[in-house]
């Protein structure tokens, strides 16, 4: 572990802008939500009434249960999306300072100096620990300052701290197993989404002790019940998991060679198949496994959520209060449709993430200097970029339709509506496409005009997600909410569709994409260094 301190300082130096930015901004979020609730509902009775109206299955599926109808309880519930973002960000940080460094060959450069074998891993974990402390600390201070109560605030801060640390440790293990940083990020993201989905499906059924929710890391963390009779032993369990995972990562790192994963590479074909021999064929080869991963995810999620919706509807039928509350929201949609629409809104954000990932692949290829030999061959720039953009725009569109199809199948089978449901739910999936395309188009624009900033695409998506999930609670004015393309989508199925905003979104997406491609034709190709 010699040299850990140097590597830790190097990592902090490399992250000197990004790390403080996201840890502080996201750490302040729960506090902001709490003070916003406090000013909206100064009277505890009103707060409780609001909580009751929010306890419907669709919101429970998205955010988890409201454990206590008080200020702290509502804050913990409503900010749970932030919990996911900080967990993912910490996982990415660990991968960035471990596997990514190794893959780029920079670890080798350092490994030859007086730096121990474990130094990189430990330094990466230390950065994660630092990020966790900042996020957790600010969360606790912020919610306590908003008057949510000391003990609960400490528990909430601990929850955020542990979420970061747990996913940091999971990422540390993944980084030892895979050989590429991209695959590692992808698996870490899948673990997070998977644990969110487990919790979503578990909680949507109305049973707050569903085993699905308990085995999901996110569900487990939420079962610490901050502000509602804290279960401190859950924190101890998570901490134990962190220790075990870190030890596993440490052992794996000790046992393997530099640059190697656990999965040994096999020799491949000596000749290229005909299907590879075009820019599109290459893009397909590079993007297909990611695309299949997403499609399988959509199908599994769709089936699970679709069949869980029926249980949610039953839960509401059993509770007249809840049915009343939902009737008061009064969009006229059935409860089942509301659950599906809420699920579809989240899937839409995921699909935008899929599109951004595919678009960023183009930039990744460029930064890695792999575009150079292609463009130095007889390939036009648009022809090359087009191959990847097909996946950036077509991939999420296809994914949303698949999600709709399986959601519809699950829903139709459970509710007895049958095949009729499929059409409506596939339509709901298609309804997300304009906003997804708009988001992806922003990334294409960055790629063409400000290529160094292409990675900001993720920040744009996080911004849209936070606007959508927390904008109303933070009492942002309508123009601010309107900044997110997802604000302009109809709530489908069940809602009313007006064509104008959809047409506008698609048209703007086309304009942004065109401008991005025009910029790409004109600019220098990255030449490294």
């Amino acid at each position: 572990m010699t040299g850990t301190w140097h590597l830790f300082r190097l990592a902090l130096r490399r992250d000197r802008v990004v790390l403080p930015l996201w840890t502080i901004l996201l750490g302040l979020f729960p506090g902001l939500v709490a003070s916003s609730f406090a000013s909206l509902y100064p009277d505890p009775a009103e707060l409780a009434k609001f909580a009751a109206s929010m306890s419907n299955p669709s919101l429970t599926a998205v955010y988890g249960p409201i454990w206590a109808p008080n200020l702290g309880g509502l804050t913990a519930w409503r900010s749970s999306i932030v919990l996911l973002i900080v967990a993912l960000a910490t996982a990415f940080i660990v991968i960035r300072h471990t596997r990514a460094e190794e893959e780029q060959g920079r670890r080798e450069l350092l490994g030859a100096t007086v730096i121990g074998r474990q130094a990189g891993l430990v330094a990466g974990m230390l950065v994660a620990l630092l990020a966790s402390v900042v996020v957790g600390g600010l969360t606790a201070l912020g919610t306590a300052a908003a008057g949510a109560g000391g003990t609960g605030s400490i528990a909430l801060g601990l929850q955020y701290f542990l979420a970061c640390l747990l996913f940091g440790a999971i990422a540390a293990v993944i980084a030892q197993i895979t050989q590429g940083a991209r695959t590692a990020r992808w698996i870490a993201g899948a673990v997070l989404i998977g644990s969110f989905l487990l919790r979503m499906v578990g909680d949507a059924g109305g049973d707050l002790n569903s085993p699905l929710s308990w085995i999901s890391p996110i569900g487990l963390l939420q079962r610490m019940r901050p502000f509602a009779g804290e279960r401190w032993w859950v924190a101890a369990v998570v901490l134990l998991a962190v220790v075990v995972l870190s030890a596993v990562a440490y052992r794996l790192n000790a046992a393997r060679d530099l640059d190697a994963g656990l999965i040994a590479p096999r020799p491949g074909p000596a000749r290229a198949p005909r299907s590879l021999l075009s820019p599109l064929g290459l893009a397909w080869r590079l993007q297909r496994s990611t695309l299949f991963g997403w499609l399988i995810g959509y199908a599994v999620l769709g089936l699970f959520l679709g069949s869980a919706t029926d249980a949610a509807v039953d839960a509401v039928k059993d509770s007249p209060d809840l049915a009343d509350a939902i009737a008061r929201i009064g969009s006229g949609a059935s409860i089942g449709d509301m659950v599906i629409a809420a699920g579809m809104a989240i899937i839409g954000i995921g699909a935008a993430g899929q599109g951004i990932q595919a678009a960023l692949r183009a930039r990744g290829e460029e930064s890695a200097l792999r575009v150079e030999p292609l463009l130095a061959a007889s390939v036009g720039r648009l022809r090359w970029a087009g191959g990847h953009l097909l996946f950036a725009f077509g991939g999420p569109a296809l994914g949303l339709l698949v999600a709709g199809l399986f959601l519809g199948i699950g829903y139709g089978a459970g509710s007895g509506e049958g095949a009729g449901a499929i059409g409506r739910v596939v339509g709901a999936g298609a309804g997300q496409i304009p906003a997804v395309w708009f988001t992806v188009a922003i990334v294409v624009l960055l790629f063409g005009l400000l290529p160094q900033l292409t990675g900001l695409g993720w920040a744009v998506l996080a911004f849209f997600l936070l606007l959508g999930q927390l904008g109303a609670i933070l009492q942002l004015s309508q123009w601010a909410l309107d900044l997110s393309p997802f604000t302009h989508l109809p709530a489908l199925p069940g809602g009313e569709v007006t064509a104008t905003p959809l047409v506008w979104l698609v048209a703007l997406a086309a304009v942004l994409t065109g401008a991005g491609l025009a910029g790409f034709r004109r600019r220098d190709i990255a030449s490294g260094g």
């Binding site: 020799p267 491949g268 290229a272 021999l277 150079e372 600019r523």
Partner: protein, 299 residues
């Protein structure tokens, strides 16, 4: 003879750094042209402009008489390129990359491909991420050499190859010359340029400082002389064109401007020569002299 490449007063800046500062380069059809310069002199930047990957700020650049930026796609059918920093797709095999690059530039001689793979002792079934730097370079070299391109643009192609493979490479380039192809070979390994190039251009800090055949360039430089004389020489140091003279009894060593070689040798023979070795100037010395010039200017 017709120019395949001609570059005049090429300027390219990245932010505040001026990578190319009025570069000139002429490459005639059928020649192997050495493009020499120390690291960071701007060789790769110039090549990237020639390939239409970077846009020139000023100056004129023509490739096969066309504009490398505007006509990139059609011009690239006639050339093959080996980047200085070869990165491969981690999950594509070397063989797949060779076929892909060959196809994308318009065709590949599969018989030649297999021949070259054997000659370079490359395993085409390994995945890109498992190749060493030298093997990655071999992949790019095989793809380029197996093409039927008129022009080969090679950016420091041997920096990762072992001496054995380097001689294979040199043999291949000589074959290409025999086949009438034009080669632009950037390098900072001077022995390689000496072995291969008909014509060289030396660049420094983004500017061409010397261009010509090696013989022409050598003429401008000095020969190193070691001599064992019959007696201790007198007045050798005062002769024009003699530099760095060291006298150790009857042994002398010094450098002499080639223009004054004749006069100086006469002076030696008047003393009586028992042994004499002379070394032609190497490109290293050419290089060093340009460095020194630069430093003098700075001072």
């Amino acid at each position: 003879m017709e120019n395949v490449i001609s570059v005049n007063g090429l300027v390219k800046s990245f932010g505040r750094t001026r990578a190319l500062d009025g570069l000139d380069l002429e490459v005639r059809r059928g020649e192997v042209h050495g493009f020499l310069g120390p690291n960071g002199a701007g060789k790769s930047t110039a090549i990237r402009v020639l390939l239409g990957l970077l846009r020139a700020d000023a100056g004129t650049t023509t490739l096969f008489g066309g504009d490398p930026w505007r006509d990139a796609v059609s011009l690239h059918r006639r050339l093959a390129y080996v980047p200085g920093d070869v990165t491969l797709w981690p999950n594509l095999t070397g063989g797949e990359v060779i076929d892909l690059l060959g196809r994308l530039r318009g065709g590949l001689d599969t018989k030649r491909r297999d021949e070259l793979i054997e000659r370079f002792e490359l395993d085409p079934r390994k995945k890109g991420r498992t190749y060493s730097k030298g093997n990655r370079q071999k992949v790019a070299l095989v793809a380029a050499l197996a093409s039927d391109a008129e022009l080969l643009v090679l950016d420091e192609p041997t920096s990762g190859l072992d001496p054995l493979m380097e001689s294979v490479f040199q043999a291949c380039v000589n074959d290409e010359r025999g086949a009438g192809r034009t080669v632009l070979l950037s390098s900072h390994i001077l022995a390689e340029a000496e072995a291969l190039c008909d014509q060289v251009s030396i660049i420094r800090a983004g500017r061409t400082v010397e261009t010509g055949t090696l013989t022409e360039l050598r003429h401008l430089t000095r020969t190193a002389i070691h001599a064992e004389l019959a007696a201790s020489p007198n007045g050798l140091g005062s002769l024009p064109g003699v530099h760095d003279l060291v006298v150790e009894g009857e042994r002398v060593r010094f450098q002499v401007d080639n223009a004054e070689l004749d006069t100086v040798l006469r002076a030696l023979t008047t003393v009586g020569v028992r042994g004499l070795t002379s070394q032609p100037p190497t490109l290293e010395e050419l290089f060093l002299r340009h460095y020194q010039k630069e430093e003098e200017v700075v001072r």
